[in-house]
Structures are given as structure tokens and as C-alpha cells.
Amino acid sequence: MLDSFEILTTSGVVLWSKTYAPTSPSIINSLITSVFIEERTLPGAGVADDISAANNPPYKYDQHTCKWTTVKELGLIFVAVYRSLLHLSWIDKLVDNIKIIFVELYGDQLRKPHTTIVKCAFDDYFDQQIRQLEKTALNRDTKVAESTALRAEAPASVTQDFGNEPPPLPGILSRGASKNNYKDLTSNESTPIATPDTSRPSTPASHLLTGKGGPGGKGSRRARKAANTPTAYASSGDELQSKRDKASKPAVAKKGRKWDADGLADEDSDTPLDYSAPANGATSGEDEIKERPGAMKEIDQSSWGWKNEKGEFFLKDLDDQVDSILASATAKKTDTVTSSTGIVGSSISAIGGYFRSIVGGKTLTKEDLEKPMKAMEDHLLRKNVAREAAIRLCEGVERELIGVKTENFESIQTRIESAMESSLQKMLTPTSSHDLVLEINAIKKQRPYVISIVGVNGVGKSTNLSKICFFLLQRNFKVLVVACDTFRSGAVEQLAVHVRNLKELTAREGTGKVELYQKGYGKDAANVAKDAVTFGAQEGYDVVLIDTAGRRHNDQRLMSSLEKFANFAKPDKILMVGEALVGTDSVAQARNFNAAFGNGRSLDGFIISKCDTVGDMVGTLVSMVHATNVPVLFVGTGQHYNDLRGLSVQWALKKLMSSN
């Protein structure tokens, strides 16, 4: 069963919620942060519109699954939470229907500015939807079994199980006898309310009931036959019902004819929602018709008459409303599809569209966006953003923009640019601020702060390590540099030169202290790292910086040793060095390294080196962050020890958006 259903705004206010089992609010909070804000599943998902819940990837968190959908225009999110173990086939339909109904009913209230209050008595609508969908789902499940059972006792139960029978069946019955019966039944069935006879066959017990009801069913047929002759009602004994039926009779007799074809034609579709649409259009406001069959059953099948004692009539109104809402929504959808045809209409709208694209106030469509989005994609590619990242970024922005109205005197181009800029900003901004000095200070004196640096060959791991070392030395930390590149000849010596330089510099300035820890070549890097950390702890170092061997990211043999390394050294920060020069490969690099440390451990940050050599083409930044959601901590900007910078998002944006 459903655990809870919530309707909330993007600004975080819960407008309506229904809880069946207590669920932690952290489920939905984590859905919001990881899907909508950090966009881990797909970019632009947070604002994607007109996508049914079935197309949105379900979000799993702590044994619960969230199904969600959004309304971009109103900033609404609809979330259904249920246990992951359950398989609820109707949940998508539920979320979608609720979305349509809610927007239709309360859309006006939601559009009001400066308020969060939405007065909604939504419980009834929701309950109705749940009931209905659960029943159709159950029906569908049992239909196969049911239909075989029916064939055996067809003559007995034909009137009751009408809804489940294939359309040709009415032919079995004699025409003259039951023409009006069909009329009534079909009109009854075509209202998608869970009428008792659709719900009944779901349990085995009801099968028994059907058997017993055999004579009753016959009786009912007789009664229905009699319905043509008003005198027969007196014999049924219920004065009140017969009166009501009599009162509604003339209208029924006339209307009923139209029903025949409609109702029967729609009979075979198994989702009642869909065939409700035409039915309602034909009989708007004719409540008597719907009441009547219900009332008839009350007389006929006294065994389950209690089911539709009171709630039935109340529910009918609600159901009508709900169905008309859903029907109009589907109608609108088909309208928008068809409306684009027609020469005059299209030419007028084209002129208007052209005018609007200059003045603003134009509602953007996919066609409008196609060309400028292509241009934007090319622009990103020119900035050295990997193709994959550029395409996904553009898709995200496109999804965000479709259906949005441009501001006054705002061209599509500028709108796209601003949207792209804000989505880049959102992406590059780290979730929480990483202040290395603060973090080191926080654990100072307890244990050393371990930073390890990974990356492919030749990107500048050792250089950046020594830059970080210099930065830390200037802040008066005691740093131990560990040479874990036990593979490439000359690697240890290279690091030793750096350390010697740094020692001289620190001696001159009188700050900090640096030592090299090395075990020569050929040793297992993970063991060396582990020993170094213990050594650092004993000797009271503040920071342990571990240099690793460069490795090709698509070489499984080399990458697999990283997991062991992470387990042994337990670094507080694993930083990956990526060079700004690399193009498309950056995505794969970042992704492979991010996944190399095993479950529960990933990269903590990137260092983008050689940024001074690429000018404006800093797209690697975007590609790497985009692929992994790991923030960029440092940017290497030159050959000197002090050419290390933190990332300024504004700076990166300026470079990325500048045109040349």
C-alpha cells in the first residue's frame, strides 16, 4: 500500500498530504536535494514538465521508493512514497491523475502571488482516485481467471458481470427482451466509478456469491424487462426506488439510444478512465441515469446492497467532477496536437510568434528552441566542454525552457543564455563550502589530515601536490609528503626535489615543516601509504600528502588497486587532478576515477591544472563536475608554487559564457 502522498511547492511548503504509514520527512527532502537541486539523475529534471510519473525515474531511499511528477508553471511537486518491496502498478496513473485534478481545482489559488495558503478539501478526490485505480488494477489482475469462470456460468451471471464481458456477448441475449437493459448497464459501466459489480469479482469469495446469485440474477433480468412496463415496479416492493425511476424514466428512454453505440464500443478498453471521456460529454448533468442502475441493483442484489447505501450517491457527484476534469485534460492535450494544423491559423500564429520573439512574452516551444540550442551547444563545444556534457546540459536547459514565456523585450537567445548560465552556476557551486584550513584545524592534534592525489599520467599530480604543500606550509602546518609512486622511475626523485625546494623556502620564511616519506620502488603503494599515515600520526604531522602513480583510467588492472589504497590509507580527501587541456576524455576520466574507490567512497574534489594554458576554454571544469557531481576545489594557474587558486564560480561563468 501507499505510505504517503504529498503535494508540495518548489518553495518547500506542503500544500496537501495524506499519510497511511508514518514516513520520515527526510525521504522527500533527500529526493528534493538529490534529484531536483543536485540533479544527480538527469539534468533539468527538477523543472521537467508534462512528463508523467512513469517517465520520471523512481527515487529510492532507505527502503522507500518515491514516484514523482512536477508542474513547472505552478512550481508543484507531486510525490508518492511507498515501500520498495511493493509493486504498485497503478502508482504512476495515480500521481498523474492527482496532478491533473489538483491543478484544475486549485490552479487559480496557486497562481496568486504572495501567499502560500491553498484551501483544499482534496481528501475525497484522492480517496476516490485511490479506490478507483486499485480496483481497476485488481480487475486487470483477476480478469483472466474471471473470464474463464464466467464462461461456465454465463447465463446466470450475465447481467452482473457485464462490465467484464467482451462486447460481442450482448448478442447472446435476445434482442427484444433486453434492449433497455443494455442501455442501463452500459450507461452504468461507462461511468468509471467503482460500481459494485466491477469490484465484486476480485476475491474468490465473490465467486461463490456469483454462484448463489444465479437465481437472483435471473430475477434481476426479469425486473429489468419489467422496467419497460411501469407496473412491474410495484411488484418489486420498493416504492421509493420505483418512484424515482419512474420520474427519471422519460429522459432515460430518449437519451439511452445514443448511449448504446458509445458505451458498447468503449466496453473493451480496460481502463475506465479513458472511456469516461465521451460518456460524460454526452450526458453532462444527467445524474438520474447513473443513479438509476445503482438503485436497481439495490433492489435486485440485496446480498451486497449495503455497499452502495450512502456513499454511492455522494461519490457519484465527485466522480463526475473528477472524470470531467480528466476528460477535459486529455481533450486539451489532443487539442494542442491538432490545433497546429490549418493554414490560416498557423500563418497568423507564425507572424505573432515572430513579433513576440522580438517584443517578448512568447511561449517557447521545442521548434523555437531548436536552432538557438544548437548554437548554444556549439558554443559550449568551442569552450572545450565534452560533447556528452554539452548535450546533456542543453537538454536540461531545453526542458527547463519549453513552455516558459519570455520577458518583455527579451529574445530567445538571451533567455537561453541566462538559463544556461544559471544552470552552470548551480552545477559548479559546491553543495557545502570546503575550507581546507578549517577542516585541518578541526582535527589538528588528534590525527593527521590525509590528502591523496590521483589522476592519469602527466596531468601534474606531483606539481599540484607540491603547490598544495606550499600553501599548507605557509599556514604553518607540519606536512609529510609521501611518495607512493613506486612504479615510474624517477618519480620519487622528482618529489624529493620538490620537497628540497619547499624546505629551503620554508627555512627562509620560517614557517611550517616538511619531510619526505619514501620507501623506494617496487613496493605496494597501499602499504606504503598506510605506514606513512601511522608514521605521520606518531611524529605529530598535521597533514599527510600522498602522491600516487599516474594510471590510465580505462585500465582495470591499474584502477583496481585504488580501492585497496583507499581502504588502507583512509584519506580524508581524495583529489583528482585533471588537466584543462583534455577534451572529451575528461568525462570518462572523472567517472572512472570516481567509481574506482569502491562502494561508499568517491572523489572529494578536482584540481583542474594548466588553466593558464587554455584561455577561455575552461570547459573541462564543466565536463568533470557534470559527470560526477564532485566540486572543483583548486585551479592550477601557473608554473610557480603559489599559482594555485580556489574556484570562483563567477570567474568560470564569465569565461564560459564569453563569446569569441
Binding site: E6, L8, T9, T10, S11, G12, V13, V14, S17, P25, I28, N29, I32, T33, F36, I37, E38, G46, G75, P113, H114, T115, T116, I117, Q425, K426, M427, T429, P430, T431, S432, S433, D435, L436, V437, L438, N441, A442, F471, Q474, R475, C611, D612, F634, V635, T637, L644, R645, G646, L647, S648, Q650, W651, A652, K654
Partner: protein
């Protein structure tokens, strides 16, 4: 020829129909312009109060409490939200201080806009942009979750970091260019929320621990790396990022008064048995 003359006659003649049309046009144009222009320009903006804090401190709850009287259940915000609130009975805005109690205008409650901002790290630019170009901004409320502020807590660090950035923005605003001088000072209320929780610190302790943590943040910032934007294009630009009094050992909120930023810390709680937000109301009333 004659037809042309006829046309000219018809056009020039002071026919009653032509007169009526002319009069109608003459009358409707000003009315039309009036409605269009005034609709577009909008009403005078209400005074606004900005809500800030890291995620999960209770901004949106506070907002709904102020608007409805009872807090609604909320989730993480993604977009900013402005809501029109009015001061409760019994509090008078400072601008109405000298009004007689029988003044009919004091019967209508003073209205203001309360602006909620998302506190998630990626979405803080919403808040920052509303500080840099404020519209009739009367004050900032920085909510803190007093239950997560014990020393050494991650929550304390994040909160202090954000608060440091906000205060630094306000400081730069007042020390910045001459145009900025004309801007009015923006007072800050640090609302220590969730006082109903058992682990919550009292307001005085919230203040001192925040001050201590900001001192650390300030120190770390001064030692931290420069941002990538600086020093690559224009080397010489001096970047003064020291919050509060230059060279002071410890950061105190009092130091902000030098930059026309008054900081107050008041306790209260939004959720729980019964919300206690009277003092925050009082603070808002004094700023309106």
C-alpha cells in the same frame, strides 16, 4: 472627380457620428493609458524582510507560521518565496509609533513581505542577489538551528560560514562605492530557532558560539587561497575580506555596528507545543 469631392465632403463634414467617435477616442485614450501605465508600474513595493539560513533551520516553517498563525509541514525549498504578512494584534510598527490609537490607519495591520530563500548550498545565490539589489529591504532574519550548534559540530561550521558570508556582504555594501553609501543600513536578527528541543542552546550561548566560530572562519579565510578570478587578469586589485574590526583577535557581532549593521540574537521556536515568536515579531515591528 465628383466622387473624390464627395469623399472629401463626407470626411470634412462635422457629422454627428464623426464627432461622437472623436469624443469617444479623446475620452478613452487617457483612461486606457492610465490603466496600462499604472498596471505596469505596479503598486508601491511593500517593506520586505529577508529570511536566510542553511537548509533545515526552519525558514519556510517560520514563513507559514507568520502567514497563517500555525506552521505548515515543509520540505527543502528550491525557489525563493515572497509572502505578504501583516503584523499581529498588539504590535505596532515603529513607523506608526506616534499615531494615536484612534487613528483609523492603525486599525489596518501593517503589511510587509517576508521573503524565504532556499538554504541549500547550490541555491544561495538567490539570497545573495536579494541583498545586493534589495527592494525596500528592512531587515534580515538569519535563522539558526540552536540544537546543532554545540562546539565541534558540522552544523555550527556550516552556519557560521554562511553567516560570515552574509555579514561580509553587508559590510562590503557599506564600505563599498559612494553610491552604496546612500543605501540604508540593514539590521540583522539572528533568530535562534528550535528552542523547544532539549539539546538547544540558549540564545546567549548561540551568540557566543557563533562568534567564536566566525572568528575561526575569518581566520581561515584570510589564510585561504585566492579565488581563481583574482590575480589572473588584474594583479594589483586589493581584496579586503576581513570581517569586522581590522586586526581584532576575536570577532564580535558588535564590531558590525561600525558598518551600520546591527546584529541581535533572540531565541524562539516555530514548531513544538506552542510557537514562541513574539520577540521576533517585536523585532520586525521595530524595523517597519
Amino acid at each position: 472627380m465628383s466622387t473624390i469631392q464627395d469623399w472629401a465632403h463626407a470626411l470634412m463634414n462635422p457629422s454627428p457620428v464623426g464627432l461622437i467617435i472623436a469624443i469617444l477616442i479623446a475620452l478613452t485614450i487617457p483612461i486606457f493609458l492610465h490603466t496600462v501605465v499604472f498596471k505596469a508600474s505596479g503598486l508601491t513595493t511593500l517593506p520586505s524582510i529577508l529570511l536566510l539560513s542553511p537548509s533545515g533551520s526552519g525558514k519556510t516553517s517560520l514563513l507559514t507560521l507568520f502567514e497563517r498563525g500555525t506552521p505548515a509541514s515543509t520540505h527543502t525549498s528550491q525557489t525563493p518565496l515572497a509572502v505578504e504578512c501583516s503584523l499581529p494584534v498588539g504590535t505596532t510598527a515603529s513607523s506608526d509609533k506616534y499615531r494615536s490609537t484612534h487613528d483609523p490607519t492603525s486599525l489596518t495591520h501593517k503589511k510587509f513581505l517576508l521573503i524565504d530563500t532556499p538554504g541549500h548550498g547550490k541555491l544561495r545565490h538567490h539570497a545573495q542577489s536579494s541583498i545586493t539589489n534589495p527592494q525596500n529591504l528592512k531587515g534580515l532574519i538569519f535563522l539558526v538551528d540552536s540544537a546543532t550548534l554545540s562546539a565541534g559540530d558540522e552544523g555550527l561550521r556550516q552556519t557560521a560560514d554562511y553567516l560570515h558570508n552574509i555579514l561580509l556582504m553587508l559590510q562590503k555594501r557599506s564600505t563599498g562605492s559612494k553610491a552604496a553609501k546612500a543605501l540604508k543600513d540593514i539590521p540583522v536578527l539572528i533568530a535562534a530557532n528550535k528552542m523547544d528541543l532539549f539539546t538547544a542552546l540558549p540564545a546567549a550561548l548561540v551568540k557566543s558560539s557563533l562568534e567564536a566560530e566566525i572568528t575561526k572562519v575569518r581566520e581561515a579565510r584570510s589564510k585561504g587561497l585566492l579565488d581563481s578570478g583574482i590575480g589572473m587578469e588584474d594583479e594589483g586589485e586589493e581584496n579586503d575580506d576581513w570581517l569586522g574590526e581590522m586586526g581584532s583577535k576575536e570577532f564580535r557581532f558588535k564590531q558590525m555596528e561600525e558598518f551600520d549593521v546591527s546584529v541581535e540574537v533572540l531565541g524562539g521556536n516555530v514548531c513544538g507545543e506552542e510557537p514562541k515568536v513574539d520577540r521576533w515579531w517585536q523585532w520586525i515591528a521595530e524595523r517597519l
